[in-house]
């Protein structure tokens, strides 16, 4: 199938991840007084966003993704996205990452499924990139990284035919197949049914380039129309709306890929597993090709060797369950048994070694980060904030 899926997959999934993290971090911003405990300030949020976006749009990483290659497994994808998320000071436990991944993938599945024309997947991608630019608008270096990636995307995909885009879309649909995780925001909007399947409408504007169904035209052998008649359509369609812009800027017109969390409450990032959700692939070895890909992708990302050392980092529990006092809760199994939705909270736990760890983490930041503020002050503030709730 298509060998050009990875850049779009990472940008769109990464974009959804940033929307969710942004919303969760904002929901903890209950006070403007930076010294209040348990609060993430605008500054912290901005730093997390900058770190993640900077890593996702790192040039070497993007160049690696832009090479023609097959789409690999969910496990590889989740591993790399976890690594990207951990480029920030945030740490997500396994259960949180699992839930976050489900949310990201279900959102992207919805966007790809409802995409009017296959080519409009680029507009969905550009919606994510436009929003990402806003998240990092105060850091020109990172904005430039996003712009540069955008130019490369335009270059690679501008020559694709609709048929090639459809092949790409079909490849993604196989990747998403059989995932029916219920997302409370989707259920509330009625975009998703209680059984986890997305609602498809038989009304609305037709995609750009299509005609409204309902007409049969008959011609003679000289090409002249001799008759036309209509037929019952069993739907109510209207003419297509103007096409969106495929350039660096401009109105994208389609709304898929926009941040659906900005308008809603903190409640809206609930997920719940249905019994039909397929478990991850068997715990056997990743195929050799996947391991090679993983090595290449990790190697091209910004150096970050604090991932494995969980002690002393800021743990973030994105998705809170009743049993969540324990560390490394087997969130997957717990979630599957509960018929109700999981509550979501971000908690951060303090650790005695956090100062030294922070110093080490700070040392990993890029030049852009070092320009953005006085680290020692921020460290103290963050320390004060990262207490147990």
């Amino acid at each position: 199938m298509s060998v050009r899926t990875l850049p779009l997959v990472f940008i769109n999934l990464g974009g959804e991840m940033l929307y969710i993290l942004d919303q969760r971090l904002r929901s903890l911003n209950t006070s403007e007084d930076n010294s209040e405990k348990g609060v993430w300030s605008d500054n912290d949020r901005s730093r997390v966003m900058n770190d993640i976006v900077g890593t996702l749009f790192n040039r070497a990483f993007m160049d690696e993704l832009l090479k023609p290659q097959h789409l690999y497994s969910h496990r590889t994808m989740k591993t790399v996205l976890t690594r990207i998320a951990h480029a920030s000071i945030m740490r997500l436990n396994a259960a949180s990452m699992d839930r976050l991944y489900e949310l990201m993938v279900m959102a992207f599945k919805y966007q790809v499924l409802l995409c009017p024309r296959p080519k409009d997947m680029l507009l969905i991608t550009y919606n994510h990139m436009d929003a990402i630019r806003e998240f990092v608008q105060d850091t020109p270096v990172i904005v430039n990284q996003v712009d540069e990636t955008h130019r490369k995307i335009i270059e690679v995909y501008s020559s694709f035919t609709e048929g090639e885009f459809q092949l790409l879309r079909q490849t993604l649909l196989i990747f998403f197949q059989d995932m029916h995780v219920r997302v409370s925001l989707f259920l509330k909007n009625k975009t998703q049914n209680p059984n986890g399947r997305f609602a498809l409408t038989t009304s609305g504007p037709v995609p750009h380039g299509s005609d409204v169904p309902g007409l049969i035209r008959l011609f003679d052998c000289k090409g002249r129309e001799v008759r036309r008649h209509g037929f019952p359509v069993a739907g109510s369609y209207s003419s297509s709306i103007r096409p969106g812009s495929f350039g660096l800027q401009g109105p994208r017109v389609i709304r898929l890929g926009l941040n659906m969390y900005t308008m809603s409450d903190t409640e809206e990032t609930h997920t719940s597993n249905t019994p039909s959700v397929k478990a991850d692939e068997s715990p056997n070895l990743l195929a050799k090709e996947e391991l090679n890909l993983l090595a290449r992708l990790m190697g091209s990302m910004r150096a970050e060797d604090r991932v494995e050392d969980e002690a002393g980092t800021f743990r973030v529990h994105l998705f809170y369950t009743d049993e969540e006092e324990d560390e490394e809760e087997a969130g997957a199994s717990g979630g599957a048994e509960k018929p109700s939705f999981d509550l979501i909270n971000i908690q951060a736990t303090q650790d005695e070694h956090v100062t030294s760890e922070l110093a080490l983490i700070a040392g990993q930041f890029t030049e852009a980060e070092e320009n953005s503020g006085n680290h020692s002050d921020n460290r103290e503030d963050l320390l004060a904030m990262m207490d147990d709730l």
Partner: protein, 338 residues
């Protein structure tokens, strides 16, 4: 005109691929076989006509141990030849030909796949039996492989490679009216919407080329009946052309989304179209040779709620019943005339 019958459950859900449903009616055994592709697996169901017996089988693409994404199947279709029926499965790796019940693989043709992926994907797609003893298979490069099929046994040989298309082959179909008078007995379609008409033989001859639209729009499904090409496009439009002259007989703004499957019931002239817009439509085609015109009449709609349809086929030559598959659906939905 039709009502819904009991669905057939399949082991996996259907993948979003063009023409993702194969149907073969075996009158002597009072059975019908169905095939539905899921990623790297072909799900086969054999259903007895009395509705009492069902059996399932799964065929996997070769080399099942490699990462799933490198052995994806593009299409599975039955080829009914005068001497025998076969099941052809096309994938990124190559072409497999099985006995029609899927029990034995009789032939395997590997596509040349480079060590590292090239700029464009490599795969086989588009399958057709052609009079009298050929099976044709399309390739992503636009080439068409012609296999010579003996009346029994596995001595299948590659007879010819046809190079007329420049874009990936999407679908192909034989002349299905049973008439020997039709000059063209194969139509092939590609991602650019271009159609080629062929006459089979030791050396296939291209009789006509019908170009795609002014703007590039893929032809995802194509049929040939009584010398008329019926083509379904990504724009949702269906066009009817006279095969050998390329004259456009009719244009139908049929669907609001990409058409994924067309089928014709050759004895009655019923046409089935199915698309991502969740709708299956039944039409009637009638030819008037004296005036060289074609009439298209709409007969029936079925909406498969919240489903992007990927396969639809009549279960018999009269169009008395038809079956439908949809992305993420683990069943074959059946409709029958009362």
């Amino acid at each position: 005109m039709y009502h819904k019958e009991k669905s057939l459950q399949i082991k996996n859900s259907a993948s979003a691929l063009y023409n993702n449903l194969g149907v073969l009616r075996i009158a002597p055994k009072q059975l019908t076989y169905f095939t539905v592709v899921h990623a790297n697996v072909v799900n086969m169901v054999s259903a007895s006509w009395d509705g009492l017996n069902y059996s399932h089988r799964q065929l996997q693409s070769k080399e099942p141990n490699v990462a799933t994404s490198t052995s994806l199947i593009m299409q599975a279709a039955f080829c009914a030849l005068p001497s025998r029926d076969l099941l052809v499965v096309t994938s990124q790796k190559g072409i497999q030909i099985y006995e029609s019940d899927g029990s034995i693989m009789v032939y395997w043709h590997a596509l040349e796949t480079p060590e590292t992926p090239t700029e464009t994907a490599v795969f086989a797609r588009g399958i057709s039996a052609v009079w009298e003893n050929y099976i044709c298979v399309g390739v992503s490069s636009g080439a068409i492989l012609v296999f010579d099929i003996p009346s029994k046994g596995s001595n299948i040989t590659l007879s010819e490679v046809l190079e007329e298309h420049n874009e990936s082959i999407t679908d192909m179909a034989p002349e299905c009216s049973g008439s020997q008078e039709c000059i063209a007995n194969l139509v092939t379609a590609d991602d650019g919407g271009n159609l080629c008409l062929w006459k089979s033989g030791e050396e296939f001859q291209v009789l006509n080329k019908i170009p795609g639209f002014e703007y590039v729009m893929s032809c995802s499904s194509v049929k040939l009946w009584k010398g008329t090409v019926v083509a379904g496009y990504g724009s949702g439009q269906i066009r009817l052309y006279e095969a050998v002259t390329g004259i456009l007989h009719a244009e139908v703004n049929a669907h609001a989304r990409w058409i994924y499957s067309l089928d014709i019931a050759p004895f009655s002239g019923l046409l089935l179209s199915a698309a991502e817009d969740s709708l299956v439509r039944v039409w009637h085609l009638s030819m008037t040779p004296e005036t060289n015109t074609v009439e298209v009449a709409h007969l029936h709609n079925e909406c498969v709620t919240d489903t992007q349809i990927c396969g639809a086929k009549f279960c018999d030559g009269d169009g008395y019943a038809f079956a439908v598959t949809g992305y993420d659906l683990s069943e074959i939905i059946r409709y029958v005339q009362p």
